[in-house]
Symmetry: C2
Amino acid sequence: SGRKVLIVYAHQEPKSLNGSLKRIAVEELSKQGCSVTVSDLYAMQFEPRATRNDIVGSLHNSEEFNYGVETWEAYKRGSLSNDVIEEQKKVQEADLLIFQFPLYWFSMPAIMKGWMDRVLVQGFAHEFPNCYDSGLLKNKLALFSFTTGGSREMYAKGGISGDIRYLLWPMQHGIMHFCGVKVLAPHICFSPEYVSEEKRKEMLIAWAQRLKTLWKEEPINCSPEWYFK
Amino acid sequence: SGRKVLIVYAHQEPKSLNGSLKRIAVEELSKQGCSVTVSDLYAMQFEPRATRNDIVGSLHNSEEFNYGVETWEAYKRGSLSNDVIEEQKKVQEADLLIFQFPLYWFSMPAIMKGWMDRVLVQGFAHEFPNCYDSGLLKNKLALFSFTTGGSREMYAKGGISGDIRYLLWPMQHGIMHFCGVKVLAPHICFSPEYVSEEKRKEMLIAWAQRLKTLWKEEPINCSPEWYFK
């Protein structure tokens, strides 16, 4: 189809279910003619910490370090650190961003949160008032694909961990929607560690199946109603 | 009062409002006779990535690396990496955990998320079925104290960023409540960068005032009603 996909992937073990889900996405989307890039964060030893090192050369205000201001200024003059610039190029070219990870503490692993913190800088991904529907990454799609420790029942509406959609709010609305990215329905594999090998295979097949018709999907309506209705 | 407090602090700049809020907490709580410890994550260059390096010596299963299982096993035999053990000791001794940070993308900065991911391992902080009200860190309190970029209006119930409580769910319920920790009301300074010096001083005074009677506060009812009512 000629579409471009960036998979941001955060698992330490290629043999894990997350590793398999990533591999299947690369295979299936490539088969469709998409051009697929993977940012394998642990393999890259991606830096998650937002520090002064993200700005090459001198600071806008070296008296009082403000990460948001300094990275915005550095973006404008092209002096962000190379690893950040590389990721921004991949995002810029992509039509679809897939985030593949195991849920850690109702959110993404820190290494992936660091990717969000460092890559989606002001000027590049948003620039007030260009946020939410007019965010700078509009016309792109995002999909959060993850595995959980807790079961589907724990993450049901009356369950002990609450509706799984509650925890999607910061990631889908607070990050992606804020940057103007439209969000496809999440892809969730519940507690793969506690199911049979057979069930895990079904999970992989279901993901491959979904990817076949992914480009026909409509984004969700990323508003409080979807999450908290 | 003899109580012990751990402040987990994530800001790069001591002169920032977050730096001042942290300093005020140390001063006020020390004045009350509390023993206060600070984990200054950026100054410590705290490692946020959950990797094989967190386990000293050989693995339980070196064929297929599973971070949750390996850290659980390593905790039981005392072979987690030293930096994690140090943080666990501080948590174990504390009556109150204060998390002080600027909100990054509807959540905590990656360096602090990494502290959660790496320190609160199974066996130490929870161990099924000891989670939520019977989590292993029960009888402790936690308080999330943070600054925002967005204004109070943006984070109002009908506002563009949604009720600020929506984004507290993963941090307060998903992490702290899961470990059995009771949660005090959050302390939020809205968009300090966009208000007058006068207003910022008032923010510091308000925090100092609150700390004077902190030990008389009742925890919130950490259930969906508090967040999504």
